[in-house]
C-alpha cells in the first residue's frame, strides 16, 4: 500500500470520472459525478491518515522526470497546509456537486465534466512541487471556472467571465515569466545545469542558502504577488470578484469562495515567502497596509450591498484581508490564524453561498430589501442561516472566531495599530452580517415573499445534507482548532524559517491611519452611491448584456 501513488490518485481520479461521464449517457452524469467526487474525497481522507504531522518536509512525494531538457518534473507532495486545503477542496467539491443536482437542469453532462476538471486543477495546484507543473494546474483551474460561470451563470455572465479571465490571466502570465526567470537564475547559479531548476524543494533550499539576486527577488515576488493577490483577491485587485460571484451558479460561487480564493493565500505562503524572503520583508509593510485596507473596505462596502450574494462576496474580501494580514506579519500565531481563516472561510462562506442559493432557488431574487420574516415562513432555513451568519461574524466557539482571533493576536505583538483597526472591523463585520440577518429573517413577512408563499418550502433533505457536514466542521474546528493546528504546524514553521521569525516589521502608525483615511473616503463614496445611485460599489457597469435571460 505504501507504494500507491496516493496523491496522483487524488489529483486525477476526477479526470477519470470526467472522461467516463463524457462518454456515458447524460442521465447518469449526476450520480457518476457525485460518486467520483465522493471517491476522491475518501482517498484524500485516507491520505490524511498516511500523513505524519510530526515529520517536517514534504510527504507522500511522487517524482517522475517529465521534460528532462529543462529538469521539469512531474512531482507531487504534500505538507500539512496543502493536505488541509486538499481535503477542504474534495469536501466542498462533492457538496457542490450535490447542491447542483436541482439548480442545474441544462447541459448537465458538460457541467459535471467541467466541475470535475476544475477539481483536478485545484488539487493539483495544492500538491504540485514543481513550479512548472504548478503553473499548469493553476491555468487548468481557469478554463472550467470560465465555462461554469459563462454557461450556467446569470444574465450578465459574459461580462463577468471575461473580466474574471482577463484579471486572472494577466496575473498568471506574469507569474509564468517569474517562474521561468527563477528557474533560469537557479540554472546560472547551478553551473548551467537545469536539474532542479523547477523543483520547489531544490529552489527553496537554494533560496535559504545562496538566495536569489535582489533584482530577481523584487520582480519575481511582485509577479507572484500580483497573480495571488488577484486570486485572493486583495484590494485593489478585487473588482472581478463581485461580478463573478453574482453571475456564477450557486456551486460555482461556493467553489470560487471556498477554494479558488485560497489558491492565492496558499501561493503566498508556499512560493512568495519561501523563494523570495528578502523581497517578502521589503514588501511586507505595503502588503500589511493593503490588508488592513481590504479588511475595512470589504466590510464597509458589504454593508451597503442591496444584493445578498454581493454582500457575502464583499465580506470575502474583508475576511481574506485577515489572511494576508496574518501571513505578512510573520508571526507564528498570526500565520496559524491566517491558515485557519482560510479553511474556516472556505467552510462558512461556502455554506453562506449555498444558503443564498437555497433562497434564490425559491424566490429567483436575492434583493435583501424584498426579504423579511423568513423565521416564520421557513424556520429550519432561518436557523441554519443564523448559525452560519454567526459563524461568519466570528462568534467565539465557532470556527470563524479562531482564525481571526489568532491573526489579530499575532499582529498585535508586532503592530498594535494594525491589530486595533482590524479588531474594530470584526465588530463592524458582526454588525453588517447581523443587520442583514435581521432584515432577512426577522420582522413581518414581506409582501414579496407572501406573494410567492406557495413556492416557499423549507429546506429539502438534500439541502440539509449539503450543509450538515459544513456545520459540523464549523463546530468541531471552533472547539478544537488544535486538530488543524497540529497538521499545519510544520508548514508554518518552515514558512517562517524561510522568511525569519517574527521579524520586527515596524509598521508606522501612519500606515493604518492612512488606510483608515482611504477607507473613510471609500465609505463616503459608497454611501453616496447607495443613497443616490442605488447601485453597488460602482462595479456594476452595464457591460456586455446578454440578449437572452438566465439559462
Amino acid at each position: 500500500m505504501a507504494d500507491l501513488p496516493l496523491l496522483s490518485i487524488v489529483t486525477f481520479a476526477p479526470l477519470v470520472g470526467a472522461l467516463v461521464i463524457a462518454f456515458a449517457p447524460a442521465r447518469w452524469a449526476r450520480l457518476l459525478a457525485l460518486a467520483t467526487a465522493l471517491a476522491t474525497w475518501l482517498v484524500s481522507l485516507y491520505a490524511v491518515t498516511r500523513f505524519d504531522p510530526a515529520l517536517s518536509g514534504f510527504q507522500l512525494v511522487e517524482e517522475v522526470s517529465w521534460i528532462p531538457l529543462f529538469g521539469i518534473e512531474y512531482k507531487l507532495g504534500t505538507d500539512g497546509l496543502a493536505l488541509v486545503l486538499v481535503v477542504l477542496t474534495t469536501t466542498l467539491t462533492w457538496i457542490s456537486i450535490l447542491a447542483s443536482f436541482k439548480p442545474i437542469q441544462t447541459r448537465i453532462k458538460e457541467y459535471m465534466v467541467s466541475f470535475l476538471i476544475l477539481e483536478v486543477g485545484m488539487v493539483g495546484v495544492f500538491l504540485a512541487l514543481d513550479t512548472f507543473l504548478f503553473y499548469i494546474f493553476w491555468e487548468v483551474v481557469l478554463v472550467p471556472m470560465y465555462l461554469i460561470i459563462g454557461i450556467w451563470g446569470g444574465a450578465n455572465r459574459i461580462y463577468a467571465t471575461i473580466k474574471f479571465v482577463l484579471y486572472t490571466l494577466v496575473g498568471s502570465l506574469l507569474m509564468l515569466v517569474a517562474i521561468l526567470a527563477t528557474a533560469f537564475a537557479f540554472q546560472e547559479a547551478n553551473g548551467g545545469s537545469w536539474v532542479g531548476a523547477f523543483d520547489f524543494e531544490v529552489l527553496r533550499a537554494h533560496a535559504a542558502t545562496a538566495g536569489f539576486g535582489d533584482a530577481l527577488q523584487m520582480l519575481a515576488f511582485a509577479a507572484f504577488f500580483l497573480a495571488f493577490a488577484i486570486k485572493i483577491p486583495m484590494v485593489p485587485f478585487h473588482t472581478w470578484l463581485p461580478d463573478a460571484h453574482v453571475e456564477a451558479p450557486t456551486a460555482g460561487s461556493v467553489i470560487l469562495a471556498g477554494i479558488l480564493l485560497k489558491l492565492g493565500g496558499y501561493g503566498f505562503i508556499r512560493y512568495n515567502l519561501a523563494l523570495y524572503p528578502d523581497a517578502a520583508q521589503a514588501y511586507a509593510p505595503l502588503i500589511v497596509l493593503l490588508s488592513v485596507i481590504a479588511i475595512i473596505y470589504g466590510a464597509i462596502v458589504a454593508m451597503v450591498q442591496p444584493d445578498l450574494k454581493k454582500l457575502v462576496a464583499y465580506s470575502s474580501v474583508s475576511h481574506m484581508g485577515f489572511v494576508t494580514l496574518g501571513i505578512f506579519i510573520f508571526q507564528p500565531q498570526a500565520m496559524d490564524g491566517a491558515i485557519l481563516q482560510m479553511v474556516n472561510h472556505g467552510l462558512i462562506t461556502g455554506a453562506l453561498f449555498l444558503l443564498v442559493g437555497v433562497i434564490y432557488e425559491r424566490t429567483h431574487d436575492r434583493t435583501i430589501a424584498k426579504m423579511g420574516g423568513l423565521a416564520g415562513l421557513t424556520p429550519v432555513y432561518a436557523a441554519v442561516f443564523g448559525f452560519f451568519v454567526f459563524a461568519s461574524a466570528g462568534l467565539p466557539g465557532l470556527s470563524g472566531f479562531v482564525g481571526e482571533f489568532l491573526a489579530l493576536l499575532g499582529t498585535f505583538v508586532v503592530n498594535p495599530w494594525a491589530a486595533g483597526v482590524a479588531a474594530l472591523v470584526m465588530i463592524l463585520g458582526a454588525a453588517y452580517l447581523l443587520w442583514m440577518f435581521q432584515r432577512v429573517v426577522f420582522g413581518e413577512p414581506s409582501e414579496f415573499l407572501l406573494g410567492i408563499r406557495s413556492h416557499l418550502s423549507d429546506m429539502t433533505p438534500t439541502e440539509i445534507l449539503t450543509l450538515a457536514p459544513l456545520g459540523a466542521l464549523v463546530v468541531v474546528f471552533g472547539l478544537f482548532p488544535g486538530i488543524l493546528l497540529d497538521l499545519i504546524g510544520g508548514s508554518v514553521t518552515s514558512a517562517l524559517d524561510a522568511v525569519g521569525h517574527g521579524s520586527a516589521i515596524s509598521v508606522d502608525p501612519l500606515v493604518p491611519a492612512v488606510g483608515l483615511g482611504i477607507v473613510v473616503a471609500a465609505v463616503i463614496v459608497q454611501l453616496a452611491n447607495a443613497l443616490f445611485g442605488g447601485g453597488g460599489a460602482g462595479e456594476d457597469q452595464p457591460g456586455e448584456a446578454a440578449p437572452e435571460g438566465a439559462s
Binding site: 517529465w66 459563462g150 467571465t161 526567470a181
Partner: protein
Amino acid sequence: MSDLATIAPFALAVGLALLVLAVDIAWPGRRGAVLGTTLVGLLMVAAATLDVGSGGARITAFDGAYVVDPLTTFLDLLFIGIVAFTIVFAPDYLEPRGLPLGEFAVVLLFAMTGAMLISASADLLVLFIALELMVLPGYMLAGYHKTDGYSTEGAIKYFLLGSFSSAIFLFGLAFVWGLLGTTRIEDIQAALTGGAASSPALVMGLAFLTTGVAFKIAAVPFHYWTPDAYQGSPTPVTGYLSVGPKVGAFALVLRLFVEALGPLSADWVQVVIVLAVLTMTLGNLVALTQTNVKRMLAYSSIAHTGYMLVGLAAFAVGRLEGLEGLLYYGAAYAVMNLGAFAVVGAIQRRAGVTSGLATFAGLGRREPWLAVLMTLFLLSLTGIPPTAGFFAKAYVILAAVQASQAGSAALGVLAVVAVLNAAAAAFYYLRVVVYMFMREPDSEQPVLAHGRLLWGGLVAASVLTVILGLLPGPLLDVVGQAARAIGS
C-alpha cells in the same frame, strides 16, 4: 552522397506534383485518385526526407548551393505535415462550391517544393527562386475560388504586395551580393565574420532585405495584405496561408539572417525587437475588434508572428533557446491554427455560410464535438496549458527571460509585453467560445455532415496539440538539434 540523392526529397516532391497533375488530367474529377496519390506521395517524400537527413550531419550538394542539415529535415517535415493537413481538410470545403481538387493539390504541392527548397538553400539565388516558388502558388490559391469576388480580391492584393516585397527583397539581395562578391551563404558569413567593411551599401542592402522579409512574415507595419488575403481566400487556403508561407518565411529568415547575416546580428536585432513589439501589440489590438472569425484569426496570426520574433530576438542576443523556441512555436502554431481553420471550414461546408461570429452561435449545442475541438485549438492559441500553444509560448518567453538576465534589458521588456499580449488575446479567442457555448443562434442552422477524412484530420490535429503540450520532450530534442545546426 551524390547530388541527386541529396536532393531526392525535393525532386520527389516536384515529381509528385507532376504525377498528381497527370492523374487529374487522366481521370478528371476523381477526387479519390487525387487524394490518394497526394497523401501516399507525401508519405514517400517524408520518408525520403527522413532518410536523407537521418545522419544528422551537414551534407551539401551542387557545389554548396544545396544543404541538408537537421534544420532542413525538421522544416521539410513540418511543411509536408502542413500540406498534408491542408489536403485532408480541403475537400469538404471545395466540393460544395464546385471547385476542383486536382489543381488545388498540384498548386499546393508546388508551394511545398518551394518551401522545402528554402530550408535547404545555401545560396542566395536559390533562396530567392525558392521563395518565389513558395509564394507564387500562394497567390493562385488565394484566388482559387475564382468566381467569388472576395477570393479574387484577396488574391490580387496578396499578389501585388507580395511581388512588391519580392522586388524590395531582391534589390537588397543584389547589393549584398555585389558587395561581398558571392551568393554562397557560407562565404557571406565568412566574409562578414572576417570584418568586411561596413559600408552604406551594406546598410542599405540590409534595410531592403529586412523590409522585404517583414512583408513576407507579415510583421507590423508591413502586414496590411494579410487580413484581406486571409478573409477572401477559401477557408482551407486561409489555413494554409496563415501557416505555410509564414513558416517558410521564417525558414528564409533563419537561412538569411541567422546564417548568412549572423555576424551582423547586433545590427538587425534592434529592428527585430521593435518589429516584435509592434507586431504583437497591433495584431492583437486589431484582432480584438473583428467580428469575422477568419479575419480575427488573420490578425491573430500577425500577433503570433510577433511571438516568434521574440524568439528570434532572444537568439540574436545570444540564447540558442530563442531559436529552439521559434522552431517549436512554428510547429505548435501550425498544428493548432490548421485545426482552428479546419473547424471554420467545416462550419462553412454548406456553400453560402459565412465565417462571421454569428455562425458560431449555438455550435456547442448543434455540433458539440466540433465545438469542443475548436475550444481546444482556441485555448492552445491563447496559450492555456496543457496545450502546444502554451508550451511554445513559455519556451519563447523563457528564452527572452534568459536573454534579459544575461544583460539585455530590452528582452525583459519584450517578455513582459509578450505575456500581456497573450492575456489580451484571450479576450478575442474566448469570445468565439462564448458564441459557441453561451449564445443561441439567431436562426436555426442545420447540422452538417462532415467527411470522415476531415474528422480524421481534426482528431490528429487535436491529439498533436495536446501531445505537444504535455510531452514536449521528443520534439524538443529535434528542435534542439535543428537549432544547433545553424546557431552554434
